[in-house]
Symmetry: C2
Subunit: 235 residues, 2 copies
């Protein structure tokens, strides 16, 4: 946790917060804070700034806070991601939040196991928890938007074309395709498939919606690694 | 597992192998293979090729194998990595093997907790297990070399200068430094710090050994994410 993220409910005054949950435990056990210490804080969806620890006991911490810095810029990106298996989903959500992706569509694919859609990690509160961990890691305050699309074809045919308009549409896909471009400034819509990849029918439909396959070389990467590698290369 | 990696002990003839361990379970449970199916195989440290499943029962699988393809090229890179916490270490080892890093130095740092050095995951067999998982994922056969350096100063002062000679020496380090370069062809020595980063004394010693700090932006990434992002950007 490189940034202590504050919720509206934490505030007892405009410049005072009281914390009682895992953030209190983390401050004590990992940061080993003492009264008078300064910490970096951020207001969810708002500015970042500093806090001074006023009071600390086993039950709660009180901090005086001030906010002056904007959070870092997001990437100009919409990420379409075939729903990963639950364990991977949690890590990928942290990663995309940490790397500054503003919008993620979790999408079905032929190779997404049906059981993946049953995971409790897709509940709004569980999604939010992982995103917050990513924001705390990277020092950002703005939650990415997560859109869940359980049906591939209607999404790709009916809603994706409008989403990709005015963006460079790319599919990260192993094979005999052009290399993934580097250091772009323009907005991008990027689709990353499941373990095993999109099937040819899916690549065709994505292409009709304006996305072209690009590759990162012969090595097949896990979804989480592919997400990070593609983003680091694109921007 | 995108490549079935074969050990010398698996061979019962020049073109025949018998498998009994987790690879048998994986072939049955994940790939759901049947007699006659073809699989991609690789010989550890050698060529890649194809296998045909000749015989399969609950206890073992027999395959006919042939080898004709060289494994993909490695990156021209030596990676110095402050020893991550055990859980992260396992994933990072898989990631570096998958991405084609040929040589990794696991290094001490002021911010590496002493207990991390006690983990059983540093045993040679445990390191090898994680590296194999990475090679199987990416389709490579050549194990990276892992060097363990429990003492920072003697390594950086006495052995690192010879290691960095003829390479571009870089430290991935958040702060007011030049941006990490892109799309290099030349050999690189890259140092990545622990959670919390190298301390200034360590950055100074690394700089004296020929490594200069570069940054990836304001966002602070987890070690595993930073490794992937830096490699994807450098090469």
């Amino acid at each position: 946790m490189n940034l202590l993220l504050l919720e509206e409910a934490d505030f007892i005054a405009a410049d005072r917060v009281v914390l009682r949950d895992r953030r209190l435990v983390h401050m004590q056990d990992v940061h080993r804070v003492a009264v008078g210490d300064n910490l970096r804080v951020g207001r969810i969806g708002g500015l970042m700034g500093n806090a001074q620890l006023l009071r600390l006991d086993a039950r709660e911490a009180e901090l005086q806070v001030s906010f002056e810095l904007p959070p870092p810029a997001k990437l100009p990106l919409t990420l379409l991601l075939a729903l990963p298996r639950p364990k991977m989903l949690r890590r990928v959500l942290q990663t995309v939040a940490a790397m500054g992706v503003p919008k993620v569509v979790l999408l079905n694919s032929y190779r997404v196991e049906k059981s993946f859609w049953q995971t409790p990690f897709l509940e709004p509160a569980a999604l939010r928890e992982q995103l917050i961990l990513g924001l705390e890691q990277a020092r950002d305050t703005v939650l990415p938007e997560i859109i869940i699309e359980k049906r591939f074809k209607p999404f790709v045919e009916d809603r994706l074309p409008a989403m990709t308009q005015g963006t460079l549409g790319l599919i990260g896909h192993p094979g005999d395709y052009p290399p993934c471009p580097r250091a772009l400034d323009e907005p991008v819509t990027l689709a990353i498939g499941p373990e095993g990849g999109w099937i040819p029918y899916e690549v065709d439909l994505l292409a009709k919606a304006g996305l072209q396959p690009v590759q990162l070389g012969a090595r097949i990467l896990r979804v989480e690694t592919a997400v990070t590698a593609l983003l680091a290369r694109l921007f």
